[in-house]
């Protein structure tokens, strides 16, 4: 990019072009875009300012490219949507016109302005002007930068061996990439292996899954780690270092799965795979088709503890001598380029609903238990029997939406699969025992997919009775353990009390309870329901916000087998695209060190989450390992001497933004710092959801809240800002390992300083908000409105004086 170097700021005068986007009426509906463009033209260094209907359109982009050449623009500012959406688009356009892409800046006047101030055109326009002013101020100080290319390891880690994980692993392995498939349980197969039939075709679930499981088990490109957990992931897109803990099975691969050991094992326990409806021994295989077929010993149950062989019955029974009690946990450390998260979902536990009596009444079971009962491989050999007396029930009821679509147990979402699962189950009963009376109690029947409505109609024709209105209560007949369902038929406005032999609770799916571990390892976000959040709900539905990480299956949201498989193949394709390229560019946002200012105090070395800074004691300065740097900028915030700054987020640039905000009416404004990954995205989410909040906030984007140096906050106050808001990811969820703990430390120090100087510390607020917590962000801004209104002019002046020092130095 020779051209951009020539047009560096030192040689040429700065020439900025500003483009204000209408985005149809999305922005123009609440912001006077022509007025904003007119205002932009008056700003320093701006040589061209115009408004377009759609700046992202091909025509407008071509216009920008033309202007760069004709008007010799060396900086471009686009005021439109979130940089998280279109920054890459415009950066590309700039590059095509020969302008270094780091000379482009964006003002977010849609998500952060027009959409959140829909009904206040005047205030929204004023805010848009401010946002443009901030962007222009930063743009004037932008520097061209070159990106580093890093190679991508052509290997993938798939976490979770359910049908989604298996499909993704097989697709990638068939393409020719090495895949590490990690499964927590002793066998792959996941939830699908436990289900009897699939809807809407009534295929036998394990019959169609078992060949895939076996393929995954034998594929030369797939390395299978079962009974294993991912315990650590370091690195970044293309270069992840994972740590997988392989728990011992105590049985080696020589096992032929003959089952002789099981016959002699003296200890028994309920088999988790059958939801406890069948027994297993301490040495066992969860189910007949398990992959790998190698048996496993449950050490919590086995009599041999702490290396003392008390009982050697299985050892004696095993002809192949495959039992090895001396096996120890092992750690594998695969280096991978991409990661697919296919961790699946849990089922809802209805024990918490006392009105349904699950766990107290033997003949109230869950749909998952039903699947094991009706399954030929299950404890009853496929005979539907009720637990109280092992008799075949004559009257059966299904209750829908148990743990879905209800705020009583705070699960407001639809679990997607239960309606069709119940219809399928009712047809299965009708197939084997046609005389069974079946009632289905529902809120709505959602038969939305291909072939689903046909199946629903079939169930109705077969005589399954559908009643709208869930039972309010289940009461047990103590004599024969039958149950009465009591509730209201909301179509007929009549109360019902129906006596059935057995009731099946159609339980919903929920986010896995251990999602938090994966969330932290990979710095992902989750939505309010606990499922992992995709990078974009429409256009990047399988990508995580973290580069190189993709989702498949129920980890992202509840879905049926077909959708899980579809998403798994999509995730495999997305991961494949990255790996086929073989290299990826890393954003040029690493720190720059000014050796002459460095006092070799070593503070930055301590706060760096990546250990990317080392102290050179001989030369008395720090050295930065760029490849290890994650780009949070917390080192730059820690440096007291201005010896470190972050590329593209330099002190000067951020200070220019602060100064732009506080130039006019500072006493009415909130200067907000948002981190790119969580809180800025959360503010975007508030915009997309049209959550309205007061228009007095001005957001400055940093990569991490750890970049927010105390001097930025001090400067805002010194320039008369009413309040300052520092926001970041929740503690523990930081995209940069733990950099936001530094944020907390710094804000606490500032609070202390404010208190000591008699300032109201409420004027500095700290908020942790995830990308899904738009409402949390919006309500914080609403909450801060009275604080601003109560700040007296003398308090503003006092703060100006206290933080006076912060004004110098730049």
């Amino acid at each position: 990019m020779a051209e951009s170097k020539e047009s560096g700021p030192k040689q040429d005068p700065i020439r900025i072009g500003v483009y204000v986007c209408h985005c149809g009426l999305n922005i123009a509906g609440s912001v006077d875009c022509a007025e904003v463009a007119k205002f932009a033209a008056t700003l320093p260094h701006v040589v061209l300012a115009q408004d377009n209907r759609y700046t992202c359109s091909d025509q407008s982009q071509a216009g920008i490219k033309k202007d760069i050449k004709e008007h010799r623009l060396n900086r471009v500012v686009v005021a439109s949507c979130s940089p998280r959406l279109h920054e890459p688009t415009f950066r590309k356009a700039c590059e095509e016109a020969g302008l270094n892409k780091y000379l482009f800046e964006m003002a977010n006047i849609r998500e952060h302005c027009s959409w959140v101030h829909l009904y206040d055109r005047e205030a929204a326009t004023a805010k848009a002007k401010d946002l443009v002013k901030m962007a222009v101020a930063k743009a004037a100080l932008l520097e061209p930068a070159e990106e580093v290319e890093v190679p991508i390891a052509r290997k993938t880690l798939v976490i979770g061996g359910g049908v989604a994980g298996i499909q993704a692993a097989l697709d990638l392995a068939d393409t020719g990439y090495k895949v590490y498939l990690v499964e927590k349980e002793p066998s792959i197969g996941g939830m699908m292996a436990r289900i009897d039939k699939t809807f809407p075709t009534m295929d036998c679930s394990i019959c169609i899954l078992a060949p895939k499981m076996s393929d995954a088990g034998h594929h030369p490109n797939i390395e299978l780690f079962t009974n294993s957990e991912v315990v650590e992931v370091r690195g970044y897109i293309g270069n992840f270092h994972a740590k997988v803990l392989k728990k011992p099975r105590y049985v080696i691969k020589d096992c032929t799965a003959c089952g002789e050991c099981v016959k002699v094992c003296p200890v028994i326990a309920p088999n988790e795979f059958d939801v406890g409806l069948a027994i297993r021994h301490a040495i066992y295989t969860p189910f007949a088709q398990a992959v790998p077929s190698t048996y496993i010993i449950d050490m919590n149950l086995c009599l041999n503890k702490e290396g003392v062989i008390v009982c050697d019955k299985c050892i004696k029974a095993c002809e192949r001598q495959a039992i090895k009690f001396e096996m120890k946990p092992e750690t594998e450390e695969p280096e991978v380029g991409t990661i697919i998260v296919a961790t699946g979902a849990d089922v809802f536990d209805p024990s918490g609903l006392p009105n349904y009596g699950y766990g107290r009444f033997p003949n109230v079971i869950t749909s998952l238990e039903f699947e094991r009962l009706i399954n030929a491989g299950g404890p009853s050999g496929g005979h539907l029997i009720r637990p109280s007396d092992m008799q075949i029930p004559k009257r059966v009821a299904f209750i829908q939406c148990v743990g879905s679509r209800s705020d009583r147990n705070s699960r407001l979402y639809c679990s997607n699969v239960c309606c069709m699962n119940t219809i399928k189950d009712s047809l299965l009963i009708k197939e084997h025992w046609p005389d069974t009376e079946i009632y289905v109690f529902y809120i709505d029947i959602r038969a939305y997919g291909k072939g689903f409505e046909d199946l629903y109609q079939r169930a109705r024709k077969e005589g399954v009775i559908f009643i709208r209105g869930l039972p309010a209560e289940i009461v047990e007949n103590k004599k024969n353990h039958n149950v009465w369902l009591i509730g209201e038929n909301t179509l007929q406005k009549k109360l019902y009390k129906i006596d059935v032999d057995m009731t099946i609770l159609s339980i919903g799916l929920e986010a896995r309870k251990d999602s938090e571990i994966i969330q932290r390892l990979l710095t992902l976000s989750r939505n309010q329901d606990g499922f992992f959040l995709e990078a974009h709900p429409k256009l990047r539905p399988v990508d995580a916000a973290t580069g190189g990480v993709f989702f498949a299956g129920c980890a992202e949201s509840p879905k049926d087998i077909k959708d899980s498989v579809t998403q798994a193949s999509a995730a495999a394709a997305r991961a494949g695209i990255l790996m086929a390229k073989g290299k990826v560019t890393v954003e040029a946002i690493t720190p720059i060190a000014y050796a002459e200012k460095c006092k070799a105090c070593g503070l930055c070395v301590k706060v760096c989450p990546y250990n990317a800074i080392t102290l050179n004691k001989d030369l008395k300065r720090v050295e930065i390992i760029e490849a290890a740097c994650g780009g949070c900028g917390t080192c730059a915030a820690e440096c007291n001497f201005g010896a470190l700054t972050q590329k593209h987020f330099t002190d000067e640039q951020i200070i220019a933004q602060i100064d732009a905000v506080t130039e006019h009416d500072a006493e009415k404004k909130i200067v907000a710092f948002c981190c790119n990954w969580c809180s800025y995205a959360g503010a975007d989410f508030a915009g997309v959801s049209r959550m309205q909040y007061p228009p007095n906030v001005r957001i400055i984007r940093t990569m991490c809240s750890g970049r927010v140096a105390p001097k930025f906050v001090e400067r805002a106050f010194a320039r008369g800002a009413a309040t300052v808001l520092v926001t970041g990811c929740h503690l523990g969820d930081c995209h940069y390992i733990n950099a936001n703990y530094q944020t907390q430390k710094r804000v606490e120090a500032l609070w202390k300083k404010m208190e000591q100087n008699g300032l109201n510390k409420e004027r500095l607020q700290l908020l942790w908000a995830s990308a899904a917590e738009g409402e949390r962000f919006a309500s914080k801004i609403r909450e801060m409105k009275p604080i601003i209104e109560n700040v007296k002019p003398e308090e503003i002046d006092k703060a100006k004086k206290v933080f006076e020092k912060a004004l110098g130095g730049s």
Partner: protein, 92 residues
């Protein structure tokens, strides 16, 4: 599998419990307590009585808990304990 188990196994009848008969030669016991210490099912316990060797021999707490691993026999230095499987008795 993280689900809570709320129903007893339906096929629990199929598994016959071990039918153990524990034999103690109380006067052979020298009171080392190895059998009590090492029993994985905690079937034995020190008794109050005093045997010929002047120590407290073990007593059986719950014979039905015994799974006939015979580790007590293996560790007893004085050959004072053994277990038979009653279901094998009648010459089956």
């Amino acid at each position: 599998m993280p689900e809570r188990i709320r129903h007893a196994p339906l096929d629990r009848e199929k598994v016959k419990p071990a039918n153990a008969e524990i034999h103690l030669f109380k006067d052979e016991c020298k009171g080392c307590d190895y059998c009590i210490e090492f029993c994985p099912k905690k079937v034995l316990e020190e008794s109050d009585e005093i045997n010929a060797r002047g120590v407290h021999p073990p007593k059986i707490v719950d014979e039905s808990k015994c799974v006939i691993c015979s580790f007590c026999t293996a560790v007893c230095p004085d050959f004072a304990i053994f277990v038979v499987d009653k279901s094998n008795k009648g010459g089956k």
